[in-house]
Amino acid sequence: MPETQQRNGRGGWLRPSRSQLLVAVILAICALVVTLQIRSSAGEQDYAGLRRTELVALLDDLTAESRRLETEIAELRNTQQQLLSGADRQRVALEEAERRRDELAILSGTAPTVGEGIQVVISDPNHAVTETLLLNAIEELRDAGAEVMEFNDQVRVVASTWIAADGDRFVMDGVTLNRPIVIEAIGQPHALTEALRYRGGLVSEIQDERIGGTVSITSSAEITITSVRDPETPRFAKPA
């Protein structure tokens, strides 16, 4: 038996026997199919060979996953919204606080200020101007809407400002004022000027012959007030 097969095999190098041919054909088919399969599974069509139930299961998985992710997206959006609005509120509060701080800095005289206004120079050769007159001038300027006032580039007029006579000179908030008195005020220049010029006002009083002084008023688009005041902590008053 082995010898026959060997003889057949050796004689069949050129003329294959039936069984050799059959084996060759079957192996060829098998190789062909394997090649096909390897190619198709190497390709991107991973789902082409799947059965319907598997595809349905796959689809279910994907749907559940996407639903889960959508929920997550919604949650994250919500969180983002909250954070954004929180940040917004904080920003608005900060801006408001900064605005109030600036306002208060101007009001309490803790910050240098610039703006349009007037400069009033009172020359008083007879030393006849009284502190009452100056106080009245301050009141009139305030009445006309002066926002910031300064005397002689030295004293910022604030809520606690006082003025007194010391011999024939003035003391304002502890600072001695030399003549001529220069008042700088920030506000609407025309209104401020009118507040001093009206009949019976500062100008007419000083230029009256009893006092014999002169007042010159200059409007300016940019009055710079540099003197500042250290805020004092009240010793007695407390916020109620």
């Binding site: 084996v23 060829a28 098998c30 190789a31």
Partner: protein, 110 residues
């Protein structure tokens, strides 16, 4: 010799002609391949044990492939296709291992 030639021709055909299978047959191809492998190992074992018969080989090859594909197809129809194809693969895998063991015993006497 001709067997190797057949293998080469088959691979070459698959690579160069790139034939496409009808999509309906596609799910059964892997199973058919496993069945064909089983038949080939069985044939190799028979050849080494000097009881190879080309008729038996051809019939077993074809019937193996057809029955495997049929089982899976029936499984698909009744809704247990995935499980049945697993079963077929397991059974054929066991047979392949048995045949390979027999081949090994003949070749290496171990």
């Amino acid at each position: 010799m001709y067997a190797i030639l057949g293998l080469v021709i088959g691979v070459a055909l698959g690579v160069f002609l790139q034939p496409t299978l009808p999509p309906a047959l596609e799910p059964y191809l892997p199973i058919a391949i496993v069945a064909a492998l089983d038949a080939i190992f069985g044939g190799l074992r028979a050849y080494l044990e000097h009881r190879f018969s080309d008729k038996v080989f051809a019939v077993s090859f074809i019937s193996n492939v057809l029955i495997a594909a049929l089982i899976v197809w029936v499984g698909d129809q009744i809704g247990v296709g995935a499980q049945l194809s697993t079963a077929v693969v397991v059974v054929l895998g066991i047979r392949i291992f048995t045949n390979a063991a027999a081949v090994r015993r003949v070749l290496f006497h171990a």
